[in-house]
Amino acid sequence: MNALVIGLNHNTADIEVREKFAFNGSKLDEGLKAFKELSVVEEGIILSTCNRVELYANVSDVDKAILDIKGFLSSFHNIPLESLNRALYIYTDKEAVRHIFRVASSLDSMIVGEPQILGQVKDAFELALQKKTTGVLLNKLMKKAISVAKRVRTETKIAENAVSISFAAVELAKKIFTDLSKKVFMLLGAGEMAELAAKHLITSGVKEVLVSNRTYERACELAKELKGKAVRFDDFINEMVRTDIVICSTGAPTYILTKSQMHKVMRERRQRQVFIIDISVPRNIDPEINDLENVYLYNIDDLQGVVDANIFERKKEAEKAEKIVDEEVEKFIKWQESLDSVPTIVALREKAEEIKKEELERLLNKLNNLSNEEKEAIECMASAIINKLIHPPTAALKNSSEDKEVLVAVIRRLYGLEDEKKR
């Protein structure tokens, strides 16, 4: 039973690479299924966000698992292994646990402390539960990761300064426009992060809010929520003529706005400045649009630069958070060690022997007149009973390799071994 993390994030891979690796939409279900079907993978979870693609697994043969999972990534996404190796990081056991805790706590995020990642971790876990791709180890690990993240959030100020994509976007908008309250804002698509950024921008006060989505009903819903106007997806380019700020995050696999379209829009809007934030991965707005005059296009990587200035302040809080993570990792590793079968077998035997001893003493105290032979016979019988009783669970623990963690957990629970240890 070994925890394994294989993945890539904004530090190891550019947006172009992450785009290729992303498990978005139906690819996620498909990918998770294929991942779990690998013979080396006993449990599996896939976390795929704009900034990271990570595969969490419980494996027995680590070296083989790493090779097989890399092979799986390469064949699933049709990317040669060499380019893969450059971007991937691999963590095992304790380091894997630490990494997952850090990711959930937003310590590994591009913008440290940003709150979206926890939701994304929860979603990834939920999907895995739904598809039944997890078991004892990952279930416990993910539940723990979520609770660690909550602990970090309440005990440190890491998420307090509203430092996120949204914060960065508003700051930038103020450096492009004189007065946001005279500007028209359009939300394109409905990603969670886009919605958050939109809300932040709207709170800073914009003149008008437009919402467009491929499904018009969803646009209407969101428009209602954001007190804006829904725009049909076919119409959004026309509306760009009067829109000053755009946040885009649709699930589209290609560009929904090309340079020539934008060129035309700019002509019609008499070259008034436009600020476009494309936080979709893969990108939805042709990056070359940034070459047009008076158009300022930022993608998710670009926003990194915007928050650099604030990073120092957050680092202090992050240090506190790292300590919490360290603590929790130690606890988790202890729990994991307890799942090993040998100590469980020993504990089971000890418990049985203890019961035998106690009961014998009580009995022998009551029956004073027994001969030594009779005493021995009674002792023999007691031993035979406990041996016969603990033989099947012991044998099961020794032999089974497949459900070992489950068995260990069940046996510990049923025989009260957990409590024994705590005492």
């Binding site: 930038l172 103020k174 450096k175 492009i176 426009f177 004189t178 002509r267 809007r269 008499r270 070259q271 008034r272 400045q273 940034n290 005059e293 008076n294 300022y296 930022y298 670009d302 630069g305 915007v306 650099d308 200035a309």
Partner: protein, 271 residues
């Protein structure tokens, strides 16, 4: 007397310029206050100097290169105060004060004696023509500074490296619109200067237009600003190109102003 006033004004402008440069690299409340206060003192002394020369000479003191440079600087300071107090544009002083100081410095290097007017200049056109020209040029000098600020801020946002002055410079839109507004002030003034100049030339030399270098360069300047305004009105042309052109426009003004002086040719030699 006027020399003392001038030197004192120059000293205050110099001090203000030094602080405006330190402000450029590291902002502080004290320096930004000091810049304004020093400039105010400089301006008061400068104004007294101009008034003194007006009283002594009996005419508006812009009839030799020393006076012209000095008066040009004075107009820019006036406009600087207007923008500084009306719009509070951060870092504006760092871009404008060096121009003012350089103009004053070049003025200080030129001969300063107050000479009697040549007969051809003795006309009410002198005041009208030069006032239009200098105020217009001051507006263009301002748009030059704002244009530089625009290019810097725009570069930060476009290249996505939000360091350095990014935090302190005003927004792109503010700078762009300010630049446009200054040109809409400068352009009519320059037009009036050219028209009044032509009328004056007609009365003085009997022809409206003599193709002397100053006239030609003024025409070039006028065309450059006309292009900026026309393109903006017709197709909303703005941003980088407008900022670049406003910088080029001011450079042609400087050529017209100093370059021709060095050539010592043409009808405007007295300036």
């Amino acid at each position: 007397m006027d020399i003392i006033l001038f030197e004192l004004a120059l000293t205050f402008y110099f001090a203000a310029t030094i602080f405006s440069i330190t402000e450029f690299f590291k902002s502080s409340k004290i320096t930004s206050r000091l810049i304004v206060i020093l400039t105010i003192f400089g301006f008061l002394l400068h104004t007294s100097c101009i008034i003194y020369r007006y009283v002594v000479g009996g005419h508006i003191p812009i009839t030799n290169p020393h006076e012209a440079s000095s008066f040009f600087a004075w107009c820019i300071v006036l406009l600087f105060f207007f923008l500084e107090f009306r719009y509070k544009i951060a870092l504006l002083s760092s871009f404008i004060l060096p121009i003012i100081f350089l103009l004053m410095l070049s003025s200080s290097l030129l001969p300063r004696e107050i000479k009697p007017l040549t007969p051809v200049l003795k006309s009410y056109w002198l005041g009208i023509h030069t006032l239009f020209a200098f105020l217009g040029n001051a507006a263009f000098a301002m748009s030059f500074g704002i244009g530089m600020m625009y290019l810097i801020q725009e570069h930060y946002v476009k290249s996505k490296k939000l360091t350095g002055l990014f935090d302190r410079l005003p927004s792109i839109q503010t700078l762009d619109e300010m630049n446009y507004r200054l040109i809409t002030i400068g352009f009519p003034l320059l037009t009036l200067a050219i028209i009044s100049g032509a009328l004056w030339a007609q009365t003085a030399w009997g022809s409206y237009w003599n193709w002397d270098p100053r006239e030609v360069w003024s025409l070039i300047t006028w065309l450059i600003y006309a292009i900026i305004l026309h393109a903006r009105l017709v197709s909303g042309w703005r941003g980088r190109k407008a900022a670049l052109l406003s910088i080029i426009g001011f450079l042609t003004i400087l050529i017209a102003f100093f370059g021709i002086k060095l050539l010592k040719k043409g009808l405007h030699v007295f300036l």
